[in-house]
Symmetry: C2
Subunit: 221 residues, 2 copies
């Protein structure tokens, strides 16, 4: 039989998370990483040491971590697997938008290149996941179209939703319920800085959205 389990799955979670957080800041504090992964800062520090040893990340003491070239490539390949599974789960298995992220998190570590390459063929080489995030190619490269977070827009601004990032279950299910998806055109009707609420119009319907949710919505610049 011989099925080695668990070997380095955590490491993959770490570099994937670092890769995603790097989009916001070049140097990711370990504490940020820890809270993103729902792990104690001490444990995160330990793990960071391990993956530094493996040459996947660089650590600037008291500043944060950054992926090495090897690490970045590895992280992008995990993201690739994740987003391909998401496409499969939504397009082929017709599973709900808000479920596929968590499900893909479990599948992304399960199989390697052979299956993923076959999956790419099967899915006709998709270029983005159902939430609008680009799928890296087999070299780990991808293109990220410019956008700004919805919460930085002001009254009267208009745009088209590019993607939801980062993805998290509660945000996605909120958006699914409101039928807010990539591709939708929106305009900002009102910004309430005091309560941190935005009133926006999407597809002609007015919606009220909080800051936290808005920060996950990336709009074409």
């Amino acid at each position: 039989m011989s099925v080695q389990l668990t070997k380095g799955e955590s490491a993959e979670m770490y570099i994937k998370a670092i890769g995603e957080l790097t989009l916001e800041e070049a140097l990711v504090p370990i504490s940020t990483l820890a809270s993103r992964l729902g792990i104690s800062p001490v444990s995160a520090t330990e793990m960071v040491h391990r993956i530094v040893e493996q040459g996947l990340v660089e650590h600037e003491r008291y500043k944060g971590v950054r992926l090495t070239e090897t690490g970045k490539r590895r992280a992008m390949l995990v993201l690739r697997r994740h987003r391909l599974w998401e496409r499969f789960l939504t397009d082929k298995l017709k599973l709900p938008w808000e479920d596929v992220h968590d499900l893909a998190c479990r599948l992304e570590h399960a199989v390697g290149t052979e299956v993923i390459d076959a999956l790419v063929d099967f899915l006709d080489e998709p270029s983005s996941c159902p939430h609008g995030n680009p799928i890296p190619n087999s070299e780990g490269e991808f293109e990220y179209s410019d956008g700004v977070q919805l919460n930085t827009l002001r009254q009267g601004d208009e745009g088209v939703i590019l993607r939801i990032h980062p993805e998290s279950r509660d945000v996605l299910s909120f958006l699914a319920q409101k039928r807010i998806k990539p591709g939708a055109a929106l305009s900002v009707i009102d910004v309430d800085d005091f309560d941190g609420l935005l009133t926006i119009s999407i597809n002609g319907v007015d919606q009220i959205i909080g800051q936290r949710i808005a920060s996950h919505i990336v709009v074409a610049a």
Copy 2:
């Protein structure tokens, strides 16, 4: 994020293996189990104790283990997941027969009922895996058509290959190379008891096969 990994995957491997071995003998010795899983007898004993605690198996000291009703159901559901993934990998992703078993071993633990139910629909409710083994239904029930191991046949016997069981990479790749699959008609031309070799004719072609391989081929009675 919160993705619990590894939790009880080993236990699933154990009960799956016991379930498969139970077809041959009602009471599976721990040593048999251990060698099937490629694990030391001591470790297997430890794990057996754990799954006895969980009420999944019964252990008769010095005799062997047997699945409880709960355990049997759980084991069959793992087998179900395994075989459905095998079908997906061969039918949809066009991956080779001999690869899909090991790949499915990694996928079978990754996701639960939601994905599996959707997969069943997507695959049009298949009734067997690519190697001819039946896929249990969502209650863990299945039908096993009667058959005998090829190595028990004598000269002149004829039959149709029902399934390859148990599945293991080396056996499957040997058979793939020889194009021996379920559904093929065969007749036994010669049995060499001394060397343990069988000469059989499959689809009009003569093939020489060893005892070990033959014991994995189940032929319609």
